[in-house]
């Protein structure tokens, strides 16, 4: 893997990451093979469908998080945003079951985007470090869930059949939930590759000074990333509540860490400017397979957290190793030039 990497000297960073994606893809397949060897029914159609459903939420949120990470920021409030938006749409649905699904989805996306924009404004205009801002809004949004709901649950009996059923409708054998995850990933891929804003996100994170000289407003790019991340989190909030058929204060509690882990495993750099949708999707699948496999393979619950933690650490170490390599390469190049 390293050999192919150095063989691509001179190509852009994004293409330079391609081997990481290939390596991660192989690793994911290897993991899948190992799990299905230990527990053959894991690859049954029904289980794969449920695995996709389970992973779709993680992948969506990770794609949103990736936008933010690309701009050298971090969004710790994604899970709290999803919980708050999920609770609000559940309460809306319980109060107006006849309103149909369009208002629910519009509220979810708009409200998520507004919550994201609040983070974005603070980072952009007040120049507060994103980790501080989103650590604050993480608690604030989670607290608001309690305030809007009064601490009470919204149960499946209070939600309309459409609200619960929409995510489960199969299209070509795959649920709407999985399709939405897929479409979000495809849209993000096209946006990052072909739109000016998408390219600017990379530029703003990769080298903010150079980006500023090139006329890119780095703060505005960060704002955009937070709005996108928030909108996706809002949509994920509705999907989460509908999938698990309950809205309560602790929805997706602590999930932001898994989201960031999926990004890091997928090759997104915490220091900005590096990463891609394909890697994030693979990172999400990789984590999703581990989460779903550990219970069926019969690993003790005391080990489950340790095992997934170990995997994340290894992925980070491998990533860091790859980047050190890259640094040396640039040095050699400039020496050759001089």
């Amino acid at each position: 893997m390293r050999e192919t990497h150095s063989a691509r000297v001179g190509l852009g960073t994004r293409i330079g990451r391609l081997p990481h994606v290939v390596g991660l893809g192989l690793l994911t397949l290897l993991l899948l093979a190992a799990v299905s060897f230990a527990f053959p029914p894991f690859l049954e159609v029904d289980n794969v469908k449920s695995l996709l459903d389970d992973t779709a939420l993680l992948i969506m949120l990770a794609v949103g998080e990736m936008f933010v990470l690309l701009t050298r920021s971090v969004d710790l409030s994604v899970a709290a945003n999803a919980a708050l938006t999920g609770m609000v749409v559940a309460l809306f649905n319980a109060a107006h079951p006849g309103a149909g699904m369009l208002p629910v989805i519009v509220i979810a996306i708009v409200m998520g985007a507004v919550l994201g924009a609040f983070n974005g404004i603070l980072v952009w205009k007040l120049r507060i470090p994103s980790i501080v801002v989103t650590l604050g809004t993480l608690s604030a949004y989670r607290g608001l869930v309690y305030i809007v709901s009064g601490g009470a649950w919204v149960n499946s009996g209070q939600m309309s059949p459409m609200f619960l059923g929409l995510v489960r409708v199969p299209i070509l054998g795959v649920s709407v939930l999985s399709w939405i995850g897929f479409l979000v990933a495809v849209a993000a891929f096209l946006f990052l590759r072909f739109s000016v804003s998408g390219r600017n996100l990379y530029a703003a994170g990769n080298n903010p000074n150079a980006a500023a000289y090139a006329g890119i407003d780095v703060g505005r790019m960060q704002f955009l990333a937070f709005v996108l991340s928030g909108a996706i989190a809002g949509l994920a909030g509705y999907l989460w509540v509908a999938r698990f058929a309950v809205a309560y204060t602790d929805v997706a509690s602590g999930f932001e860490l898994q989201v960031i882990a999926a990004c890091v495993i997928g090759g997104v750099s915490i220091t900005g400017g590096v990463g891609g949708v394909v890697g994030v999707v693979l990172g999400g699948l990789f984590l999703g397979i581990i989460k779903n496999a550990l219970p069926v393979v019969g690993i003790s619950p005391f080990w489950q957290m340790a095992v997934s933690g170990l995997v994340i650490t290894v992925a980070v170490v491998l990533n860091a190793g790859a980047r050190r390599h890259e640094g040396r390469r640039i040095l050699e190049e400039s020496e050759a030039g001089a």
């Binding site: 499946s156 009996g157 509690s253």
Partner: protein, 335 residues
């Protein structure tokens, strides 16, 4: 300070308003026992149900009057004000579901010093502030009830069962599971194949339940002694289209489980019944007023049988109450 004075004035006015009635009732029947029933907060469905049971007991006993009261928010300060007002009314007994076990001790001691019988129910006051505490149930009773529920969910009392608990380190759940295991020999048909942990999170519980369904295709019952776990497991069974084949049971609130009972994934489940709790609380309070000794004795509690209190004054009321299709809708409105 202003708010506090206001509250005090309010409490005094309330006391003054009830005073003439109290005096006249005293004059009429010297034997009337008045019990102050203090909720964690007013406007909570659970305590409305407790009050309902308390009044049932008062009616059955005949010469008992229940004064149902509580603060508007779940604070210890609010409860202290309320208890002071009850002391001023010279009630015979006070039963409290405490918002804080220690903060209420001084005011409870003052009540005890005036000869008022102070007990706690549902949520305990520290031992020095009350004579007895009436727990809604006990580890022993809950563990056994879980096995009974699992057996009831099996058509012929035979089959594989699995657990979706809270976290691997939850004290309550682990105690109940230990009792379940010890009690299993009484149910030779039950085959406990796996204990999993959903961490009291909907997604983790759902995932564990889904894994159980895959791993044990002939699984018959999922038992979840967690209110999050039971709902998530029921949803997992519904999504796997195994309703009728696999039943979910355990501990949950009627309002949260009602939808799944109607969907058929939950046949029956249990939780302590607040009406029975209120009923037993009044019975025990009246026993004490009539001169019964609390700790280390067994007190009669009307239709609830008799309740044994240990040396520390803690007594467990009864086995958790079972809910099914016939009564879940009715209780779902309550709590």
């Amino acid at each position: 300070m202003d708010r506090r004075t206001l509250l005090k004035t309010g409490a005094m006015m309330a006391a003054a308003a009830t005073l003439p009635a109290a005096i006249s009732s005293r004059a009429r029947a010297a034997g009337t026992i008045r019990v102050g029933l203090v909720a964690k907060s007013l406007g909570n469905g659970f305590f409305v149900a407790v009050d309902k049971g308390a009044n049932e007991a008062a009616k059955a006993l005949g010469d008992v009057q229940v004064i149902f009261t509580g603060p508007t928010t779940t604070t210890a300060e609010g409860q202290i004000e309320v208890i002071q007002a009850l002391i001023a009314q010279h009630v015979d007994a006070i039963a409290i579901s405490a918002n804080d076990p220690d903060a209420l001790v001084p005011v409870c001691k003052r009540a005890l010093a005036r000869g008022i019988k102070v007990i706690s129910y549902d949520s305990a006051v520290s031992p020095e502030g009350r004579i007895v505490h009436l727990a809604p149930s006990s580890d022993e009773l809950i563990g056994k009830a879980l096995n009974k529920l699992a057996a009831a969910a099996l058509p012929d009392g035979k089959g594989k069962i699995a657990l979706v608990s809270a976290t691997p380190t939850s004290t309550n759940q682990n105690a109940w599971i230990a009792v379940m295991k010890g009690d299993l020999p009484n149910y030779p048909g039950l085959d406990l194949v796996s204990i999993t942990y959903g961490n009291d999170l909907a997604d983790d519980s759902y995932r564990e339940a889904t894994a159980l369904l895959q791993k044990y295709p002939d699984l018959k019952v999922i038992v979840s002694p967690s209110s999050v776990g039971i709902v998530a497991s029921a949803k997992a069974v519904e999504d796997a289209k195994k309703v009728g084949q696999v039943y979910v049971t355990g501990l949950g609130l009627p309002s949260e489980c009602a939808g799944h009972v109607m969907a058929g994934s939950i046949k029956s489940f249990a939780i302590w019944n607040p009406i029975d709790l209120g009923y037993a609380t009044i019975e025990v309070a009246v026993d004490l007023v009539r001169g019964a000794k609390g700790p280390g004795s067994s007190l009669p509690a009307g239709r609830m049988g008799s309740i044994a209190f240990d040396d520390k004054g803690v007594g467990a009321m009864a086995v958790p109450f079972t809910y099914d299709k016939s009564n879940v809708e009715q209780f779902a409105k309550v709590f």
